[in-house]
């Protein structure tokens, strides 16, 4: 597995760019490359925060402003005064810090002064609103929406990385044929396996193997994505279960 918490102990000019806790501390210390790393990390998870702000009653542009403002606030070394960054989950840290930020930035003019006129993370406001309009609203708290969108962000990130790996091997068509089988029970799809085999021109056994290996690889990529958001590797399973619960709570079960 990648990433070690002691990466700051070595060369001060280098830091682990895969662990959220290390990136935040590095950014606060203004280490070379840390701002870009933090920007990249925040860019992945801005939408759950935007959705949270919208659910809290912020209008479209205000939600965009406070999200941008928070990222700048994070860089200005004020976000971690009351939080130990080397412990806990990035999801929990970001939500708690964002809530504190919103509470302290209730004066919108002040928020605009700090972040509204600057752009730290690119936010496609039009796309964000289109996505937000599809959110389920019945009895959902802002926190539930935040966690569910976070979970979906992780799931999508791993899927995009798997697609990229297939693409690098010039096997995009294989990915297209197999992706529908990744998140479903094999028994449910046993009959359609033959369709995939026929589509790819391989035997039924070969397509089962391909699906198994793709599921395994996807699993690895998802675990890797989650591992970057927790401080302790032993928390990966618990975080995945928490993300499952968040999705079920938001989307419902019949």
């Amino acid at each position: 597995m990648r990433g070690k918490d002691n990466s700051l102990a070595g060369d001060p000019a280098r830091f682990d760019t895969t662990r959220w806790s290390v990136i935040v501390v590095a950014a606060q210390s203004e280490m070379p490359g840390s701002r870009a790393a933090l920007s990249e990390l925040c860019a992945k998870y801005w939408y759950p925060m935007y959705a949270f702000a919208r659910r809290r009653g912020y209008a479209t542009h205000d939600a965009e402003d406070v999200t941008q403002g928070f990222f700048l606030h994070l860089l200005e070394h004020r976000a971690l005064h009351h939080v130990h960054p080397l412990k806990g989950r990035f999801r929990s840290f970001l939500l708690a810090s964002f809530q504190n930020y919103l509470a302290s930035e209730c004066d919108r003019a002040r928020a605009l002064k700090r972040g509204g006129a600057q752009e730290f993370v690119f936010i496609d406001a039009e796309n964000a609103e289109n996505r937000y309009r599809l959110e389920p609203f019945e009895d959902l708290t802002p926190e539930t929406i935040f966690d569910a969108r976070w979970a979906l962000t992780i799931v999508k990130e791993a899927m995009e990385r798997l697609e990229e790996e297939f693409s690098i091997q010039n096997k995009s068509s294989t990915f297209e044929a197999l992706k529908g089988y990744l998140g479903t029970d094999a028994a449910t799809n046993s009959q359609s396996y033959s369709e995939a085999a026929e589509k790819l021109g391989v035997s039924l056994g070969a397509v089962k193997t391909l699906i198994y290996r793709s599921r395994k690889r996807y699993s690895f990529l998802l675990r890797e994505a989650v591992s970057r958001t927790v401080s302790d590797q032993s928390d990966v399973d618990a975080e995945i279960r928490a993300l499952c619960d968040a999705l079920i709570a938001a989307e419902g079960r019949t």
């Binding site: 389920p136 979906l152 089962k208 193997t209 996807y218 699993s219 995945i240």
Partner: protein, 98 residues
């Protein structure tokens, strides 16, 4: 600016990967969750999938052959696989697993 398309639920970027495009209120036949999904499958099942493989399996696959090239065939022999695509284990001993 990407071209905008409407998939019936709202606009999205035309160049956005298909599996990222969300669809509304599908019900997963495996876990029964009603959710907005994307064509990569049920997000809940995908998360649970990641719980099936432990850290040892991760390190094995990370250094393994590129995904997409797998085939349990050796000349005219082919390994039997179960419904999940895993090789069927006939037995194991000091020399390995058959």
């Amino acid at each position: 600016m990407n071209e905008r398309v409407n998939d019936g639920l709202g606009e999205c970027d035309a160049e956005e990967p298909e599996h990222v495009v969300e669809r509304a209120n599908e019900k997963c036949s495996t876990c029964g969750t009603t959710r907005k999904s994307f064509s990569g499958g049920c997000p809940v099942c995908l998360l649970r999938l990641a719980l099936e493989f432990d850290a040892n399996a991760d390190s094995e696959i990370a250094g393994g052959a590129p995904v997409g090239e797998a085939s349990y065939t050796f000349e005219h022999y082919e390994l039997e696989t179960d419904a999940d695509g895993r090789p069927v284990e006939l037995g194991r001993g000091a020399m390995g697993v058959t």
